[in-house]
């Protein structure tokens, strides 16, 4: 659907260099990178808002490199929503439909009604943006972008200005937009969790270049360089699947080393919202692992036997690399590392609460078109 070939763009203090990217129709593509890596500039170049110095941008095989934004069929959603403050919610959504002369006023009315229902904002139509919450603003911004039935929806950090709860809800909306409307989406973020829970594919950007692109598994499991590894892998992420034990859903991770009494590790994870058999990723935050020299009795239901491989003291915290069948990093205070006399080779118990673990199930890859 989207084909970027050798795109170069020079700004005063910043360059995009040789960007190549292919996004298939119906795909949810995440561009991951730290602030200042050029993500927003890339999106604006795709939208036709910034002229590029060289390279080509193709939409469904058609060269749009020279077309102004109003002649490209893309929807754009910015982090801070960019709703027109002088227009009501309804007028905001209608804006694109009217400018593109997409239909009679009756048809436009019906279209807005459908979108309002789909995104659950039909009760807000007469309000002005200033009277909306963050989550509501974001849904209006999505409705406005979707109204023009864009070939490609560009999302610029759509979740980072939202509180935790609204974030979850908008994530749900994005999944629905992707699945039910079969919308092709390019979503940029610095948040790895967004990539894990929404994306089909991911490209990692650093300093104006795409350093790695591929499926989530490829990028998370085989980062091509220390930057990618550092950026995507600062926590423990494992390929995992949902299984069942005593009628309860558990997450299973294959062991890759150690005494193989059982071939896999079993984790209790709270709030798994996908059926047994689903594949995905298990994220174990390094701070969420409790180490002890004897098996602890606590609410932490996940208790494993582990061998210390190495320690790295960074001021008041210490990173402990452990082998518990899978390599895992735990972050504890340097004081407790000293109290427990942890050193490489010694054996420990590692525990983690079901509530501190996250299971991400990426959406099924859509059929390729």
């Amino acid at each position: 659907m989207l084909d970027i070939c050798g795109l170069n763009l020079r700004l005063d203090d910043f360059n995009l260099r040789d960007i190549n990217l292919k996004v298939r129709a119906g795909e949810y593509y995440i561009i991951l990178g730290p602030t200042g890596s050029g993500k927003t500039v890339l999106l604006e170049a795709l939208a036709g808002l910034r002229p590029i110095d060289s390279g080509q941008i193709l939409f469904s095989g058609q060269d749009v490199t020279g077309l102004p934004p109003e002649e490209r069929n893309i929807g754009m959603v910015y982090q801070d929503y960019a709703l027109f403050p002088h227009l009501t919610v309804k007028e905001n959504i209608a804006y694109g439909l009217k400018k593109r002369k997409m239909g009679e006023s009756q048809w436009i009315e019906a279209q807005i009604g459908r979108l309002g229902e789909f995104l659950n904002i039909d009760h807000l139509m007469k309000r002005y943006p200033i009277n909306l919450s963050g989550g509501e603003k974001q849904r209006v911004a999505l409705a406005r972008a979707l109204a023009i039935k864009p070939q490609l929806l560009l999302l610029d950090e759509p979740l980072s200005a939202l509180d935790r709860q609204s974030k979850r809800r908008i994530q749900g909306e994005l999944r629905r937009i992707h699945k039910e409307l079969e919308q092709t989406i390019l979503h940029i973020t610095h948040d790895m969790e967004e990539a894990l829970s929404l994306g089909d594919k991911v490209a990692v950007m650093e300093g104006g270049k795409i350093v790695q692109a591929g499926t989530l598994t490829e990028v998370f499991q085989k980062p091509v360089n220390p930057f990618v590894a550092g950026f995507v892998g600062h926590d423990n992420i494992f390929n995992a699947r949902v299984g069942k034990r005593n009628g309860e859903k558990v997450v299973l991770v294959d062991k890759i080393s150690g005494v193989a009494a059982a071939p896999e590790l079993e984790f209790s994870v709270s709030a798994i919202d996908v059926p047994a058999g689903s594949n995905g990723f298990l994220l174990i935050p390094a701070e969420g692992i409790i180490l002890s020299t004897s098996p602890i009795q606590s609410s932490a239901r996940n208790l494993f036997f582990a061998t210390v491989i190495s320690l790295e003291k960074v001021g008041i915290i210490t990173h402990v690399t452990l082998d518990m069948g899978i390599p895992i990093v735990a972050t504890i205070t340097s004081n407790s590392a000293q109290d427990m006399k942890i050193q490489s080779g010694c054996c420990l118990y590692a525990a983690c609460k079901a509530t501190s673990l996250h299971f991400f199930s990426p959406p099924p890859t859509p059929r390729s078109l």
Binding site: E70, Y78, Y95, K99, R144
Partner: protein, 263 residues
């Protein structure tokens, strides 16, 4: 030991100084409003010449403001949105009319729009003369009052998030459409207040106008002439009338523009 007080000594000193300044501005204005000889004021009000001159002043300044909107808004937009070579220079140029003596500005305008320079001759061949004409008054008023409009509009444009304009483009609007749909409505309050300032400044102009066009006589020139020929007693009523009209218009427009929404 010092105690925490709602108003510190500093705040008290500042308050006193502020009040002195406000009195300095308002006292002369209100004194002149209420000290004119009632009898002469009444006869002045019925004078054809006075009313015609006040009408001319308001009209000429309005034309100047409209011209200012046509040429000034594009410049303000450029200064607010684009970076270009010489931008700082352009911004300094815009403030120039405020700092030059206005009689000097009048002389300068005369040297360009008078009949001795080709530009003046070109306009003259089109039937537009700037010497002793309404066109000359409008020209002089524009020159000295443009900065007020351009600077206010520039602030207005600058306060708009450019992403609003970008989103409008992606939704299918051409740059011209975006300017009318997004940029102008969102900066309307700045533009209106800038236009009021420009209009008011134009009405009050004397120095530049008197060089280009002593006749037809605008109100400030009329006040000056009566002061010179007949003295304070006869100049004062004209000043009072002009002042009253200006204050009424100024306050009315400010109230109206306050009602405009701020975004």
């Amino acid at each position: 030991m010092a105690t925490i007080q709602k108003y510190s000594g500093l705040a008290f000193v500042f308050a006193v100084l502020s009040v002195v300044l406000l009195i300095f501005i308002t006292l002369p204005l209100f004194k002149v409003l209420f000290s004119a000889d009632k009898q002469i004021l009444l006869t002045t009000l019925q004078e054809q010449e006075v009313m015609a001159s006040i009408g001319l002043t308001l009209r000429a300044s309005l034309y100047a403001t409209i011209t200012g909107l046509v040429f000034g808004l594009p410049l303000a937009y450029f200064l607010a949105r684009y970076d270009f070579v010489g931008k700082e220079f352009a911004e300094a140029l815009i403030d120039l009319p405020v700092i030059v003596p206005h009689t000097a500005a009048g002389i300068a305008l005369l040297s360009v729009f008078g009949r001795k320079f080709f530009l003046g001759r070109i306009f003259n061949s089109w039937g537009i003369g700037f010497m002793g004409s309404t066109a000359g008054i409008v020209l002089a008023m524009s020159f000295v009052s443009l900065p007020f409009l351009v600077n206010a509009a520039k602030e207005g444009f600058r306060s708009i998030d450019p992403r609003l304009e970008r989103v409008a483009r992606t939704l299918g609007a051409t740059p011209t459409r975006v300017f009318w749909d997004v940029t102008i409505p969102l900066s309307s309050r700045h533009i209106i207040s800038g236009a009021i300032m420009m209009w008011a400044r134009g009405i009050s102009e004397f120095g530049a106008v008197v060089i280009l066009a002593y006749h037809p006589m605008i109100a400030p020139v009329l006040i000056y002439e009566r002061f010179n020929s007949f003295g304070l007693k006869y100049a004062q009523p004209v000043a009072v009338i002009l002042l009253a009209i200006c204050l009424i218009i100024f306050f009315t427009l400010r109230v109206i523009s306050r009602r405009q929404k701020m975004y």
